[in-house]
Amino acid sequence: MKIRGWLCAALVVCAAGCSLNRSRTQQLQQVAKDWCMTIRASQVLPAYPLTEDLQVGDIFLVSTPIGEETKIFERKGFLPLDNVIARLYPAGFTEFYKGSYGVNDANVVVPHQWQFPNPTRTTAPTTDWSMAPGAAFPSYTFEIKQGAGASLALPVNAVPVGLSLMRTGNATGAINITQSSTYGLPVATLNGQIDDWADQAANRAFLATYAPSTIETKEGGSRQQQNYIRVVQRVYVAGAVNVSLANTESRGGRADAGVAPSQNVLPAPSAAGTASSAATDYQDALTALNKSIASTSVGGTVEIASASNRGISLNETFPRPLVFGYLAFDRAIEEGGFLGPPIPTQARVTKQIINVPAVRFGPDPNTQKIRDWAAKSVANDEQFVSWLRRNNLNPANRGAILSGTKYRDVRQQIVQELGIE
């Protein structure tokens, strides 16, 4: 009986723990997603986590089916960038910027001159990103509840530091990207260079291994696997953020991030009680607070801008500016490793329709011949699809190919080459 009691208790504890973990995970995912949605609201794809190592000309392999990728984008708010296959150092920056922003040496590939200025500096600012074209983004507001572990979900250190100083786990806050830069190249400039890269024998052979294929599904059916390359054409870089936090908890009691806890964000005012002594007290308190975080792992990057007993505002400067968003285009990998035309990634994953001119309806006897023949067997249909792919035609464009006036010659060719009676 006693054992059964312990077992029940253990199960209850386990269930509660699992539930808490699930709730915590969900909240972490939600905070990450909210951050990404703010970036997305500005028509920019979020890079998450923030990284310095993402630049214009980076090429990624995308093997996730478009439907699945759209779902991931909706669920997580960002697209995982995990399969980098090449980094191009593209030409064309000097022509594009015409000497502005310090881009005047064709031998230097942007952003090298901003990232690693010559001569090397040992004191801040160690980079020249302030010379790059500016960008501005809306602030991101969020809410943190007890135990959510926002220190893990938000890609800035100032949030856990602020929560720790306020000794609270419940707060509302806003993050504002205060030093933001951007640079990029037009698709037309990059696209030719991607073709040149793909034309190299080793690269063509590599791409050919990702040509369209038929794969079996778990349900026992099959589907066409279409792979893409994703080319980064513009990035957005953040040098610093401002974090404002307001304590929404009536009684605080939390400390983390290695910061020594204090009773209040600000100490009690001095006995003098004059306006000048209040200002001095306030300045002294800020200095003391900044000293208290200087010895932690975030010291030197996070600085308290203002504080009250109910709120705090912190400036966080990244040691080196980080990419938080990008624009890219996708190109389908076709038979033999040849690449399709560029399509904006955002348009593809948000299912936006790319406007193309309509094809005039104009069937001929071959239209029905091909339809009937393809409908006779799966093998015939697969042969038809395969012929389209071999001839650089999109099988999904079958509606236009079978009845559009402009495809009459194509239909004649199909009938002849596939021996359709």
Partner: protein, 46 residues
């Protein structure tokens, strides 16, 4: 290969079903059918 799915315009009423079926057979999940002022239809991927 051009990834775009081209709409087909000027489709007479009696041919709409066949053209829609071609779109569906090509893997298009949502097909839009729009009636034009001249009484013909334009069929496109939704």
């Amino acid at each position: 290969m051009n990834d775009a799915i081209e709409p087909v315009s000027g489709v007479p009423r009696e041919e709409v079903g066949a053209v829609v079926q071609d779109f569906v057979n090509g893997g298009v999940e949502i097909v839009q059918v729009r009636r034009e002022i001249d009484g013909t239809y334009t069929i496109s991927a939704g």
